[in-house]
């Protein structure tokens, strides 16, 4: 009996670690994304930028592996059967946020957009806001497994930051189209700004789902 009990908990411990690592990956990718953006602003597509961008790519690949391991672990060991689908959706949503960081970093690398000086401050604010939004999403989502009150606290922060990033995105978009740049340049920047802002949207989607799971699970 004692051995059975131990083996039951060793399975959950392993999965607990994987879920924690998945959340760590969001925070890591967010921090590297901010670093990559700063480097891009200073050096454009330098070897330095390439190094950090590659780190984000690796994080994304590791997150994909973790997602698959979590999914199979939940089914093989028949863990949290009533919440299994919810946890799988949550992990997939987290993975989408990480993917978005990777895609945007890669887009900068491929397209090498020219960002005029006058847009840089706002652009930096937008990057900061979406990164904070994703980090708070990770904290909130992680808390789902331990403390429902914390989920709600950080969810408020995510909603606030997403709203702020929307405002920054709209202002930046207006500035871009009011400038005297060529239309192709305007469209390129607009698409890039939109993709950066999408990170916060994806974080918000993730939190929407987490809040519903919390209501479902709250005893």
């Amino acid at each position: 009996m004692f051995n059975i009990k131990l083996s039951i908990f060793s399975t959950t411990r392993d999965l607990e670690q994987k879920i924690d690592q998945m959340h760590d990956k969001v925070i890591e990718s967010s921090m590297f994304f901010k670093e990559a953006f700063d480097i891009y602003m200073r050096e454009k597509r330098s070897s330095n930028y390439r190094r950090v961008s590659k780190k984000i790519k690796n994080i994304e690949a590791e997150a994909d592996d973790l997602r698959r391991e979590i999914e199979s672990s939940l089914y093989i060991h028949n863990l949290i059967p009533d919440l299994r689908a919810d946890v799988l959706q949550m992990v997939e949503n987290i993975d989408k946020v990480i993917n978005e960081f990777d895609e945007v970093a890669h887009k900068f690398y491929i397209e090498q957009p020219d960002i005029p000086q006058k847009f840089r401050d706002n652009f930096k604010v937008l990057v900061q806001q979406v990164s904070d939004c994703a980090e708070n999403m990770a904290i909130s989502s992680r808390a789902f497994f331990r403390d429902f009150a914390t989920v709600r606290d950080y969810a408020r922060k995510v909603y606030f930051l997403e709203h702020e990033s929307d405002k920054t995105w709209a202002a930046l978009k207006q500035e871009v189209f009011e400038s005297d740049m060529e239309l192709a340049h305007k469209i390129q920047l607009n698409s890039l700004i939109g993709e950066v802002a999408d990170i916060a949207d994806k974080a918000e989607d993730c939190i929407d789902a987490v809040l519903i799971f919390t209501i479902k699970r709250d005893i």
């Binding site: 908990f9 959950t12 607990e16 028949n78 059967p81 009533d82 497994f145 699970r217 005893i219």
Partner: protein
């Protein structure tokens, strides 16, 4: 031993089978329904504990049923048990979980009416009062457990996965307690009416345990309950389902635990004696309905959560079932006794 006794006992065994099929859903329906525990594992555990409960703790409640109506002829006992079983089975077929306790009480009253014997109104009132007290007590216990567990979960900050594993273990333990309590409390429903005409001899197991004739009868009845659990309860769980209120595994655990505690309270001779010795009000030793206890617990939790999420339509349906089951059993019993006595020439009661 007269073989005809075994034939007549078959209706009691059929009732036992119905009880196993019907009431197992209350003990571990939510655990199986939420896929927290495998049916085969929990049904096996429940089967073992229902036998232990019936054999070693079933004496108290059978006396009360005997007081309500001392069914003295074997053919009469046969029909009383068969009518109750048919009433439970028919209700189960239409997807309503009913109380075996109520069905047997209805049957006994049907026998009393047919035999022209007086129903002991004091005992009847005591039994009927438990039909109200049982869900209320169960609801109160569930609310207390709910508040305590909620606080405990909040303070412990236990990881959801670990919480789930502990709940799983809890569900298995409470199913065992629930099955023990069900056996102890409800065996009187199954074979209580056969106690008066019990022909068995004491049974010895390796000189270690000796079962009294009454316990041998309870053993047979409880084996029938176990067979009901193993063969038909899965179907009953799927039919009756978990549609009264959506329950998380923790709530399911609380519901099962409350129900088990209520069943133990109403069948524990030790507790009864202790309360009596301490000059405290005692709880009657009456077979109470596990279905009522479960519904009381679910409603208790539902109400403390503001009444949201409770499917009141189903509550009404179940309440109708509770009223219909004893009436149906009484009617079936009365009519069948007439046929048994007049068509098959059986003695269904002895005149005083």
């Amino acid at each position: 031993m007269d073989l005809s006794y075994l034939f007549f006992l078959s209706s009691g065994l059929f009732l036992g089978w119905s009880l196993g099929a019907n009431d197992a859903a209350n003990i571990f329906g939510t655990a199986v329904g939420s896929k927290m525990v495998r049916f085969s594992l929990i049904a096996t555990i429940a089967s073992i504990f229902v036998i232990l409960g019936a054999v070693f703790g079933g004496a108290g409640t059978s006396e009360t049923l005997g007081d309500l109506g001392a069914v003295d002829a074997l053919a009469g006992s046969f029909m009383v048990a068969l009518s109750a079983a048919l009433a439970v089975y028919l209700m189960l077929r239409v997807g309503i979980t009913v109380s075996t306790s109520q069905a047997i009480v209805g049957s006994i009253i049907g026998w009393n009416l047919y035999a022209g014997k007086e129903t002991d109104l004091k005992t009847l009132a005591e039994i009927i009062s438990t039909w109200t007290i049982c869900p209320i007590v169960s609801g109160i216990i569930a609310v207390v457990l709910y508040l305590c567990l909620k606080k405990l979960i909040k303070c412990s900050s236990l990881h959801l996965l670990r919480q789930d594993q502990l709940t799983r273990i809890g569900l298995i333990i409470t199913a065992a307690i629930g099955a023990y309590a069900l056996g102890a409390n409800n065996i009187a429903n199954v074979v209580g009416v056969f106690v008066q005409s019990c022909p068995f001899k004491p049974l010895k197991f390796n000189g270690l345990i000796t079962l009294t004739p009454e316990q041998v009868l309870f053993l047979l009845g409880s084996i029938a309950i176990s067979v009901g659990i193993l063969t038909y309860s899965k179907k009953a769980i799927m039919t009756v389902g978990n549609n009264l209120m959506r329950m998380s595994p923790v709530i399911a655990l609380i519901v099962v635990l409350s129900q088990s505690l209520v069943l133990l309270l109403f069948s524990s001779q030790t507790l009864h004696n202790w309360l009596e010795a301490s000059s405290l009000p005692t709880l009657p030793l009456v077979p109470v309905s596990s279905s009522q206890a479960v519904i009381g617990a679910i409603l208790g939790i539902g109400l403390i959560k503001g009444g949201r999420g409770v499917n009141w339509g189903i509550v009404r349906r179940i309440a109708v079932g509770w009223c219909a089951a004893p009436l149906m059993a009484m009617l079936i019993c009365f009519v069948s006794l007439f046929f048994l006595a007049n068509v098959f020439n059986q003695t269904v009661y002895f005149t005083d």
